[in-house]
Subunit: 352 residues, 2 copies
Amino acid sequence: MLALHPTTAVRPLHVKNRFAPTLHDVARRAGVSTATVSRVLNDPALVTESTRELVLGIVEELGYTPHFGGRALASNRSNTIGAVIPTMDNAIFARGLQAFQETLADAGVTLLVASSSYDDKREFEQIRALVSRGIDGLMLIGAARPKETYTFLDRRSIPYVLTWNYRPDEKVCFVGFNNRAAASDMARTVIERGHRHIAMIAGITASNDRASDRVEGVRDALDEGGLSGRDLPILESVYSLNDGRRACAAMLERKPRPTALICGNDVLAVGAITLAKSRGLRVPEDISITGFDDIELAEVIEPGLTTVHVPHRRMGEAAARALLAVLEGESNGRGLELETQIVMRDSLASPS
Amino acid sequence: MLALHPTTAVRPLHVKNRFAPTLHDVARRAGVSTATVSRVLNDPALVTESTRELVLGIVEELGYTPHFGGRALASNRSNTIGAVIPTMDNAIFARGLQAFQETLADAGVTLLVASSSYDDKREFEQIRALVSRGIDGLMLIGAARPKETYTFLDRRSIPYVLTWNYRPDEKVCFVGFNNRAAASDMARTVIERGHRHIAMIAGITASNDRASDRVEGVRDALDEGGLSGRDLPILESVYSLNDGRRACAAMLERKPRPTALICGNDVLAVGAITLAKSRGLRVPEDISITGFDDIELAEVIEPGLTTVHVPHRRMGEAAARALLAVLEGESNGRGLELETQIVMRDSLASPS
DNA sequence: TGAGCTAATGTAAGCGTTTTCAGAATTTCA
DNA sequence: TGAAATTCTGAAAACGCTTACATTAGCTCA
């Protein structure tokens, strides 16, 4: 057997489902055919009330649960939708995903979640795993991934929705918000406050269109405001408080010191705020700091974080509905753009 | 590349999907039998090198992915483990779950996640859905659920692990920490600081053994410290900042006003801190507040939250390993108790 | 009454895999 | 060299379910 994966090579010893009753068991016990039992379960209207009750009783008594494999095989339908997110350990995805799942559950559709650890190859593997499980549709985060991934999906004709971003000019089905425009708005607000020395701490932009679009958005605003977008000092940083602190520390070394720090997400911004304060700087008097996402942290930190509010729950719901519509055959597959909103708290002010 | 274009995307409900290549397609193209292709994929050593390479080439060329349903049906095995958590939108579960999934992925096992919205019935439904998908094992949060759920799992002989709690005297397989003892430690620490007027804001204890064990732990410590555990003022509250604020406001009305507020989790504690501050109280000088979990928020709030640190990632990993061990038949199914630790920050001090 | 409906149920053919068993090809060794 | 042992490979039978089609039962109405 495979030496590479010794753990999987060893087959489970216990004999599974030895006691799992089958459709056939139910049918025999009820004295009807398997077809009838199947109908009771899938399309009860086709069956007389008395038979239905009889069968349901037996189902209950035996604790019967349909075997998904058999069902998927026979019907080529799974009532299942998949989602691949970069990581579960991130408040941003969690909220939207929870809403996505709730909307799906209300429609009787099961959600399977997998995570890619921000790795294109891993994402592809996970997509394959989901597809092989017969998912009827797929939700993905953002648009940046290898062409092969899309080719695979198209070849299998799996409908998919891209979320957490919206790009007006692309033909893919986005259900999300315009990261570039939103970041641009935020930067414009900063510029309007009178800041001229602006720096940015961005998320990692490789394979991450949300992060890179936010960078572009900030550059757009700078250019527009008569500052050079190309010369914007940028540091890319992993999504964690400590990395936000580190990046902020580096930015504070610059001469002249930036009077405003635009951060690619709230976690980085909060990290930056805590570092600035620990260095004896007052926020926003000595340095303004802005975020993006509006997670819980933004409201709790002192000073309150001025940031871009993203309607995560609404986005999750809308993505679910878009996918459900396609499955019902009642969608033209057009996407949906959601509005973001700048939340003014206390971390942004005019430079003194 | 219209993702949701109806003509290509919608699989008419009764028409078989003509796009996915099957084992048979691969076999025919390679000029071998389906048995050989299956062997190439599952047990390559059984096949001559030349045949193997030929087949693998075709697999690649066709973009073949085995159909999970067929496989599950034929082999009665799925290399899949399920998890049902109360909600995805909660930092506490997210971190442990991510670690759980990573450990599983390293072993070539897929994780299916479902969420129950803290509802016993819904949890049972989700478990059924997972079981019908042929999961080989299951992870659940806590121990409090109807007997029927356990009966069902036992009848199906699905091995399961209970996490986020550990109860020394029960013979179920727990991989977690002793909530009761940890809460007791925290309360003892508070008492040792000299507090006599202590109140508690707990999570909702119904169907939630973590929350109720924490309450019991605090009561234990009070009794032990010569204060009456039975008389502990308690408010139960949903997991959210605002509900924490509301509960704290109510507690501040009490005469005499508590000098210490023990909270069942960090979110409630942070909510309580922000409310206390907004009422002009100083924390910890006027009122001490403690939490439980040690999420990111605890480190960022001012003052830093004194709380119980839970090794979420280690717990997720350990739970995964425990389950994997059972699947390989090399485990007696005994659990594992992890240590928690009190993290002293600044929100706890002696009463003035 | 019975022809002609409709409604309810049954029969049986797959769906895509794995796996047992048997046969073919190759190697070994007396 | 030929029989026996050893590899490979293929045919075909499951696995649990859905569903097209066939059949039967229960009506209506002339």
